[in-house]
Amino acid sequence: NAGVTQTPKFRILKIGQSMTLQCTQDMNHNYMYWYRQDPGMGLKLIYYSVGAGITDKGEVPNGYNVSRSTTEDFPLRLELAAPSQTSVYFCASMEGGSRGELFFGEGSRLTVL
């Protein structure tokens, strides 16, 4: 049972580097989300998507980009990494908006030095 799969699980970046966090779900969910979680804090919504080809900004979108070319994949791109982007990133999916369980990936721990 794959569910929501995130890669990589850990990554160290230098300031100014770019990278993409991958997220794939095999549940045919329309809604997908990217969150970041800073130490001891709750989750902040970065971007979300309600279906293939549709993306929108959440609470903290600056410094990130997303795309949704297929239902399954929702990659998160970090351009010009900054120390403030050091965090744990979670991808999640839901069948239909706020009317069901939100399924989470295991998280990707990113450190920017």
């Binding site: 001891g40 709750g42 902040k44 959440g58 609470e59 908006g97 706020s98 009317r99 939100l102």
Partner: protein
């Protein structure tokens, strides 16, 4: 955007004690979700409340949504070390698209 405030921010209790975590919204809640996160791991779904006055229980955890649908509480009876972790409330916007989380409550249970 929806704002969800949780209290307390952290909690340390002796094993066997009862405890309550609160989640307050700035807007009417269209579905309130409780998740648990073990330290350094992903999130585990606990339960979902949708109707005003609704109450759900699973093992020793009970969650309630108030009649006005702006506040929820999570109550743990006879806490155990396995209950330790971060508890997060989450809710969708009225449009049903964005999904927000509260500030989190860190629970430590001392054996």
């Amino acid at each position: 955007s929806q704002e969800l405030e949780q209290s307390p921010q952290s909690l340390i209790v002796q094993e066997g004690k009862n405890l309550t975590i609160n989640c307050t919204s700035s807007k009417t809640l269209y579905g309130l979700y409780w998740y648990k996160q073990k330290y350094g791991e992903g999130l585990i779904f606990l339960m979902m409340l949708q109707k005003g006055g609704e109450e759900k229980s699973h093992e020793k955890i009970t969650a309630k949504l108030d009649e006005k649908k702006q506040q929820s509480s999570l109550h743990i009876t006879a806490s155990q070390p396995s209950h330790a972790g971060i508890y997060l409330c989450g809710a969708g916007e009225d449009t049903g698209n964005q999904f927000y989380f509260g500030t989190g409550t860190s629970l430590t249970v001392i054996p």
